[in-house]
C-alpha cells in the first residue's frame, strides 16, 4: 500500500493553512424573497402563467377600447355572426373565416348571407353585440370582483387570525368558536342566500363572496402565528427584551407574508369561479353588465347552434383559472420555507 515514488523533500515542510478559510460561505447569501424568486423562476409553468395573466389583464383593460363597438351596442341585423378576422380569414384551418355549419353539415358564410361587411373579430351574440368587446369587458369585471373579494378576505382574515393567534387566551378561544361555526356553513349556501337578499351586482356579489371567505385565511394565519410564537427564535427575541411591536414586524410579518400570498392566490380563482357559477344558475350580474359568467351562460343557451359564443369565454375563464392555480402552486412550492435547502 505504501507509495514508493520519490517525493521531493521540501514537500514535507509545514504548509500555511488557515482553518477559518474552510468556514467561508461558498453559497451566495440570499434573503427569503431572492431565494423564493429563484425557485419560482425555475418553475416554467408558473412563469408562463404569470405572463399569460399579465397579458389577459392588459387585454381586460384595453380590449374593450380596441373596437368601434360599444359594450351594449346592439345590432339585431348583425346577430349571431361567427368570428371573422382580416388576413386570418384566408387561413383555411383557422376558425376566423366567418363560416358556420348547419345541423345537417352544410357550411355557409354567415357574413355573406347577411350581407355584412364589418369584421367582428370574435363574432356577435344573439343581440348582435360584439363578443370581442364584451369578452374583455367581462374579463375586466370578473377580475375586478375576484381581486376585490380576495383583498377583503385578506384584510379581514389576516387581522382576525393574527389577533386571535397573537393575543391568545380567552380572546382566542372565543374567536375560535366563531370560526368553527362559520367553517361548518358551506360557502355555497351563504353566497346563494346573500345574493337572494341583495340584488345581484358587482358589489353584492363581492360581499357575498367575502362573508365567509375570510375564514380560511384567518385559520391559516392563526395557526401560523401560534406556530411562530412558540418558535425558539421568537422566544429568544422575547428573552432578549424585544418589544411586541418589534417581534411582530421583524419575525411574524416576514414569515406570514408567504402564507398570505399563497392563500390569496388561491382565493382569486375561487372568486372567479363563484362569480361565473352564480351567473350560470341565474344569480349573476344583470344586463347590460357582462362578466365571464354571464357570457358563458348566454353562450350556453345557443351552444348547439353557435358554439363559439360559449367556447370563447370558456377558453378565457379556463385560462385564467389554470394560470392562477399554476402560479399559486408555484408560489407555494417556492415560498414554503420547509423546502429551502
Amino acid at each position: 500500500m505504501m507509495s514508493q515514488e520519490k517525493i521531493a523533500k521540501e514537500m514535507f515542510l509545514p504548509a500555511e493553512v488557515d482553518a477559518t478559510k474552510s468556514e467561508e460561505i461558498s453559497k451566495p447569501s440570499l434573503n427569503y424573497w431572492q431565494d423564493a424568486w429563484l425557485r419560482v423562476k425555475k418553475n416554467k409553468g408558473a412563469i408562463v402563467s404569470m405572463v399569460i395573466l399579465v397579458l389577459l389583464t392588459i387585454m381586460a383593460l384595453v380590449g374593450p377600447l380596441l373596437t368601434n363597438y360599444g359594450i351594449d351596442q346592439q345590432n339585431i341585423k348583425h346577430n349571431n355572426l361567427p368570428p371573422r378576422i382580416p388576413v386570418l380569414e384566408k387561413v383555411s384551418w383557422l376558425p376566423f373565416d366567418g363560416d358556420l355549419t348547419r345541423k345537417n353539415g352544410d357550411v355557409y358564410n354567415a357574413y355573406e348571407m347577411k350581407n355584412v361587411d364589418n369584421y367582428y373579430w370574435l363574432g356577435t351574440d344573439s343581440l348582435g353585440r360584439d363578443i370581442f368587446t364584451r369578452l374583455w369587458k367581462g374579463t375586466q369585471v370578473s377580475l375586478y370582483i375576484a381581486f376585490l373579494a380576495a383583498a377583503i378576505d385578506m384584510v379581514i382574515g389576516v387581522l382576525y387570525g393574527a389577533i386571535s393567534g397573537f393575543v391568545g387566551g380567552k380572546t382566542d378561544n372565543f374567536m375560535q368558536r366563531i370560526t368553527e361555526i362559520l367553517v361548518g356553513i358551506p360557502n355555497l349556501i351563504v353566497v346563494i342566500l346573500m345574493i337572494i337578499v341583495m340584488d345581484p351586482g358587482i358589489l353584492s356579489i363581492t360581499i357575498a363572496l367575502t362573508i365567509t371567505g375570510w375564514v380560511g385565511m384567518a385559520r391559516v394565519i392563526r395557526a401560523q402565528v401560534l406556530k411562530l410564537k412558540s418558535q425558539e427564535y421568537v422566544l429568544a427575541a422575547r428573552t432578549l427584551g424585544l418589544s411586541n411591536g418589534k417581534i411582530i414586524s421583524k419575525h411574524l410579518v416576514p414569515n406570514l407574508a408567504g402564507v398570505i400570498i399563497i392563500n390569496t392566490m388561491f382565493t382569486i380563482p375561487n372568486a372567479i369561479f363563484f362569480e361565473a357559477f352564480l351567473s350560470f344558475i341565474g344569480l349573476g350580474l344583470q344586463p347590460p353588465l357582462a362578466s365571464l359568467g354571464t357570457l358563458i351562460d348566454d353562450g350556453f343557451k345557443v351552444l348547439q347552434l353557435y358554439p363559439y359564443q360559449m367556447i370563447i369565454p370558456a377558453i378565457v375563464i379556463s385560462l385564467i383559472m389554470i394560470c392562477f392555480n399554476m402560479v399559486a402552486d408555484g408560489l407555494r412550492d417556492a415560498l414554503d420555507p420547509k423546502m429551502r435547502d
Binding site: K9, F12, P14, V17, K21, E23
Partner: protein
Amino acid sequence: MTKILEVNDLHISFHTFSGEVQAIRGVNFDLNKGETLAIVGESGSGKSVTSKAIMRLLPESNSDIKNGEILFEGKDLTKLSDKNMQKVRGKDISMIFQDPMTSLNPTMTVGKQIIEPIVKHQKLSKAAAKKRAIEILELVGIANPEERFKQYPHQFSGGMRQRVVIAIALACNPKVLIADEPTTALDVTIQAQILELMKDLQKKIDTSIIFITHDLGVVANVADRVAVMYGGKIVEIGTVDEVFYNPQHPYTWGLISSMPTLDTEDEELYAIPGTPPNLLHPPKGDAFAPRNEYAMKIDLEEQPPMFKVSDTHYAATWLLHPDAPKVEPPPAVQRRQRQFLDIKEGK
C-alpha cells in the same frame, strides 16, 4: 478469520442541482465473520452512504455507484438484479436505523412488521412465523410479547421501538447486521441498554456487525475494529486499542482530544477548527489539510495513500511517510500512547 464482506475502491456520487457531489471517494474495508466493525465520522463524512450502499438503499434517481465493488460471500452486490438483491436484504444482511420513532410503519401492527421478513425469506407458515416473531420479541427483551405482538408502534416507547426494529433486523438470523447510529436518537440510559442488548445478541446469533456512529464513547464499548471516515474516505482503520491508544491520523487525534475523559486535567477540551470539506468540489490533496495544524505542502498537493502501521492498523496521512518530520501529537494523544505502551508491555 474469514471475510464475509469486502468493500473495494467504492466511489459514490450524488447528482444535485449544483452538480456532482462525490460522497464516497474510494473506500476500502472488510468485515470478518463474527466481528464488530465501527465506522466513525462526523456528519457528511460518508459513513451512512457507505452503509446504505451495501444494502443498495440509496435513491436510484440521483445516486450513482461510480466505481468499486461490494463483495458479500464472494458475490458483488452492486451487480445483483433488484430481485436477487431483495433476497439478500433482510435475510443475509439487515439494517437498524437511527430513529426508531419514524422507522416503523405506523399503520401496521408490530407483529405484522416482524412476520413480514420471516414469511418472505424463510417461507414459514403464518402460524410458525408468529411463533418465531414472539420468540424474537422476547429475545430483544420485550415483556408480554404475545400482547405486544398485536399492538401498533405508537403504543411503544422509543427504546422499545428500537428493540422492535432490532427484532425485525434479526428475524432471519442475518450474517451481517448494519446498525446506522442505532442509539443516537435515544436517551443515554436507553442507549446503554440497547448497546448491551446488541452485544448480547451478537454472541447468541453470531452475526457480524457494522456499527456506524459519530460517538467515540460508544465505539470503545462495542467494536472490535474501528474505521475513521473523513471527507468520503477512510483515513484510519485498526483495532479498537490501536485507534484509541495509538492513533496516527491528525483527524483521529482531533477526535480523541475533543473527547472528555476522567483524566483530562486542567487543559481545555480540544475542538477541531474549520468545517468538513465541500464534496461538491473536493480538494486536490488531503481533504483534512485545511483543518490540519500539522499540514505539509504535500498535503495540499496530493492525497496520502494508506500507510501501514501494523498488520491490522493503517492510516492515510503523509506524516507516516519516512521523509516526513516527526511531530508531537496533542497531549491527550501522547498520554494515550503512553498507556498503549504500558498495555503492550503489561501483556
